[in-house]
Amino acid sequence: MFCIRRSGGVILKIKKPLKILALVLIVITTALLLCSCSTIDVDIGRKGSGTAIVTIAKEEGVTEDSIRQSFDEISNGVKVMSEDQERLKLKSIKQTDDAFIVTVSFRRINYVKGLGEFSYMKSTDFVKELNNVEKVTIEYAKGIYKNTLKNYGGHDYKFDNATRPNKKVAFTPTDASTGESLEPDKFLSADGELANNKKGMVFSFFIADMVGVESITFSFDGKIKAYGSVNAEIIDENTIKIFPVIQKGKHIYFENAQSTEPISETKNLEVYAGFVYFELGANKLAIGLIIGVSAVLIALIVWGILSGAFKKIFTGKKFKSIVKNYDLYIMMIPAIALLILFCYLPMTGVIMAFKNFKVVDGIWGSEWTSMGGFKHFVDLITKPTSDFGKLALNTVILAGLKFIFGFVCAIVLAVLFSYLRDGIFKKTVQTISYFPYFISWVVVYSIVYLFLATATGTASDPATFADQGILNKIIIKLGGTPIEWYNSPQYWRAILTFTAIWKTVGYSTIVYLAAITSINPSLYEAVSIDGGGRLKQLWYVTIPGLFPVLGVQVIFSLGNLVRDDFDQIYTLTGGSAALSETTEVIGTIVYKSIGSPSAYSDAAAMGLMQGLVALALVLSSNKLLKKLGVDGVF
């Protein structure tokens, strides 16, 4: 399968420094030219992964080393084109008297790029995709060759339109069992068999320029029902052999890594193209698992009956209590069902942080990333192009500012409240201070905008004073130049901290105020008898009295140190790029990734790291507080 041979390769003018390199290349090219792959056998598994066995006839220049070398080149080229994923792996090279037998494993053939193009999907999806005009990648499977094909290492192929086979002639679907031709439009129609067979799979392929390959054999994990290809032969119910057709086209490529001018060459290209429709066989793994699990269950039940463990359980107190109060457990069902659907089910979704999420494959079907699944995490942390460092820093700085100032302001305000005489004034002030907690950030945006609006005029249409926000009006009145708030990221840490405190400070005082009022008045008297004034009372009685409550509050909000107030930040900044330097946090990036599935796995990885650090902070602070003698939360 990997023995795509380059033709051409005569180097005419070589600059001196490149001479040695060129010589090496010539040797390799020659080796490849000599390599004569006689057959390729491809075995495709359920998820599109499998093995390919390539039989290469023994000839001069073909050695195990030369095969390894060219394989490395191909697999690297494929890796570059296939989203940097390791798609091909050399399993083994065996020798017989007259051939090398090379076994290569491949992962997810539909994502292998650079060795032709493949698709492997459910037949129901296939029919849907056919009608989706934008998905030209599978047009060749429809019977229409794409004009171009890009292979690894910058090899481009352009086919002559004139010699492209006519769809209906070349790709007439053929029934695999009877050998009869099927009506293409009916076969592919939305109410045909293809569109409705839940077990149906379609594999389509388009491979060009495999010089020296006689045939390619594909075998599937299921029964082949129909196929469409120019030259194909059914071997058995799972296997089909494809022979190439010759097509005129241009091969465009670069001589070597240093060349800038591509070489274009018109020639006959050997093309393998077509599709195979088959029905997936029974999933042996799933059947095995079911049998295994039920065997264990049966064994347990038998053991339970024999040993009398069941008898104990069913006559025990607990069981009797459950039977008697069965309605208590029924009462829990609604909440448990909702918790499972909306809390626990999404939790299992974090698995996608370890996978390369693709919509067609779903969370569970998507493949694991390299590095044992941790690729996204490693990339986020180590790749210089990743913004993760900045995001994490912004998140922590904003959260830290709100954390510190939030506590300080709430405690100060609670103390000040406590000095007010009970009455209408105190009540009014408190009631008003709680209120902002209940208004939405969307409304707060309007309020913030009121202060920060910036009018920028042009020479012909100067900004009017009236259009400026309140802060800019004040600045202008004081003789300064108005500030473009929504273009000045340096102010936004302060703005976000201030607005967060504005919104929550009154509400946060409730707890502290309650703690202050519950302090035993005799303690204050004791301090005052000793001659202490209010300051001393505050220091020796009030503040220590707040400690237990403060402890619990700290644990509650410590996890917030790495969480971002997404709602606030995104609403107030509108996710503006101009402010991203200080206001782009993990939450806003994750939100922006919604709608572009290729970014989901990265976003999920960021979210997971954030969640885990928050969890660690909460649990460890809880433990610490318990050790310090303050009651923990959990």
Binding site: L328, M331, L339, F425, S440, F465, W502
Partner: protein, 291 residues
């Protein structure tokens, strides 16, 4: 106790400080309200102002007549808030009652089931995909159903229920009431303060939400949007307004309309807030003690 001079001075200073603080909370609101009642000419000439200039109802008339979207969104918000809060009360009190009863076995397990989601969540992306997989995309149920369960509310209510005298429930059950009857006839009325608290929290949270709406209701389904999502869109693009206004668009003042929308969207909270205030204070205090 006789106050010293410095203490008196401090008290006066404190009162002044509190007045300033109150202004800090109130003035922005006054600005918005005044603007919503000021005429186009006045807003163009003076911008936002503290006093109503050239009183007009134009902006309110506009959002209620020209803006089908806005009126619809108010109804959407009311529907979602009421439905979700109703479900939440039922689901929460059922579970809280069951877990707070003495007879319940495996209590630790059932409480842990609540604590885990409070400590760790899957994150936005998995949540989004779950809602998608459940087929709730572009329906209001994507917001209503998840809002019907909140582990924290259940724990609050559970703690309160557990503090009620057990003898009352036993008496009811001796008279033949089953657990559901006991809950709604005995425990629920006694535990109303805490139920009112979670009603307030939940209703405010759903009313104020735009995030879930923006995730699960795309712009082709604006007719399902809650009011905060619409107000947010007004904040970012006044164009949608102007096209709705049609030929008279030049007479529409963006600030005026925005302010009116903000006032209307907050009004329900302003109306309900004084009645529920005493409850939420008790709720905050219940929540701040150990689980």
């Amino acid at each position: 106790m006789i106050k010293s001079k410095s203490e008196k001075a401090f008290d006066i200073f404190n009162v002044i400080l509190m007045i300033l603080l109150t202004l800090m909370f109130v003035l922005p609101v006054v600005y918005i309200v005044s603007t919503s009642f000021s005429s186009n000419v006045a807003i163009t000439k003076h911008g936002y102002s503290l006093l109503i200039r050239e009183f007009t109802f134009d902006w309110y008339k506009f959002i209620f007549s020209a803006q089908d979207l806005f009126v619809g969104s108010m109804f959407n918000s009311i529907f979602m808030t009421v439905t979700a809060t109703f479900f939440m009360v039922i689901v929460t009190s059922l579970y809280a009652y069951a877990v707070s009863r003495k007879q319940t076995q495996f209590k630790t397990f059932f409480v842990t089931l609540l604590i885990i989601p409070m400590l760790f969540a899957g994150g936005t992306i998995p949540y989004y995909l779950t809602i998608n997989d459940l087929g709730l995309m572009n329906t209001q149920w994507a917001i209503i159903l998840p809002s019907s369960v909140n582990a924290w509310y259940i724990i609050l209510v559970k703690n309160y229920f557990a503090g009620l005298p057990d003898s009352l429930c036993e008496a009811a059950q001796l008279e033949g009431a089953n657990n559901v009857q006991t809950l709604f006839k005995v425990v629920f009325p006694l535990g109303f303060p805490i139920v009112a608290t979670v009603i307030l929290y939940s209703a405010v949270a759903i009313w104020n939400d735009w995030f879930q709406a923006s995730l699960f209701l795309d712009s082709a389904h604006k007719n399902l949007w809650p009011v905060q999502a619409v107000v947010r869109e007004l904040n970012s693009s006044i164009e949608s307004l102007q096209s709705a206004a049609g030929s008279g668009s030049d007479r529409v003042n963006a600030e005026g309309v925005r302010s009116a929308a903000v006032v209307i969207s907050t009004l329900p909270i302003v109306i309900v807030y004084p009645f529920l205030q005493k409850y939420f204070i008790s709720g905050v205090l219940v929540g701040s003690v150990k689980e």
